[in-house]
């Protein structure tokens, strides 16, 4: 384990000790923090095992050439549409979208497509949109989608054109990609 990871785990452990002690001595702020923490953990971590297991499958089964063909530099408008369709079906917000888009990037998807997926999966997920529509009205959600998607695509293309060459994105080569 890396030093940084040990530190991060220790911080979490320290908090849990504090929270549990507060729970037993009825220290209200600590109890409330524990409650909040638990809600978030449930929210974020409950979907993560499935998300990462699916990323694992993607990593092993989907060839780099396939991703390059459909989402790479020559993919054109189809690449963006594919990214948006993927995003529609996504779940879990940024926490899930980041590792998925990183995986797409590592497999040869071009930057603007990655950005479109990332942006669209944050604000244009269908399961989430249904919820939003029930609270804020279907009109609101439809207009928000119609306005957001072109903006996301345009800004992603813009970012790729202007900054694409020097973003220094860390490249991870997964050993499983090469097969054994």
């Amino acid at each position: 384990m890396k030093k940084k990871d040990i530190l991060l785990y220790s911080i979490t452990a320290l908090f849990l000790v504090f929270a549990l002690v507060s729970y037993f001595i009825e220290f209200d702020p600590g109890k409330q923090l524990l409650g909040n923490f638990w809600e978030y953990v449930k929210f974020v971590l409950s979907v993560m095992p499935a998300v990462f297991l699916i990323i694992g499958l993607f990593n092993v089964w989907v060839k780099r050439e396939t991703v390059i063909k459909h989402m790479g530099h020559k993919s054109g408008i189809k690449g963006y549409m594919l990214a948006i369709l993927l995003a529609f079906a996504s779940i879990g917000g940024l926490f899930a979208a980041l590792p998925i888009s990183k995986q797409l990037h590592d497999k040869g998807s071009k930057l603007s497509v990655v950005l479109v997926y990332l942006g669209a999966s944050c604000i244009c997920r269908i399961p989430m949109a249904l919820w939003e529509a029930s609270m804020l009205g279907i009109e609101f959600t439809v207009i928000r989608f119609a306005v957001s998607l072109p903006l996301i695509v345009l800004s992603s293309i813009f970012i790729e054109k202007v900054f694409g060459k020097n973003l220094d994105i860390p490249i991870v080569v997964h050993e499983t990609v090469k097969g054994k």
Binding site: K4, N36, V41, L167, I169
Partner: protein, 160 residues
Amino acid sequence: MTALYITCAVLYIASLIASPKKTWMAIKSGTKMLMKILPQFLVIILVMTFVLYVFPPENIVTLLSKSGNWVNVLVASIIGSIVVIPGFIAFPLAGILKEIGVGYAVLASFTTTLMLVGVLTFPLEKQYFGTKFAIIRNVASYIIAIIISIIIGLILGGLI
């Protein structure tokens, strides 16, 4: 969430039939990636916990029910960029805001920045994509969110 796990199970069954060896590799690779990012996840959740404690959702309602819509669009965008609230709190909260008469532009500004701009999740984004990417994406996202709010305000009303 159930749908997600069912999808995951179906995919794994298919994979298992096709190649048990590759399936095992998929499990290993997925687990490895999750374990690599888990400590970062936990600490960000911890920070989110404290932010939610210091600044509970009720305060957001109080804050956004004051002052005019233009100011509120900005205030909402700043709150939305910083806090991370799960959907099951965020949307009912937006519903309450709508009930008390907060304009559509403000609602759009709040929900869009909430989902798209992540100050607290910045370290996570940095770990995956590097600092430059994270800064540029978040700044661009913030600008997009403001444009979306203005257009929604113009169409649905509630800007002036």
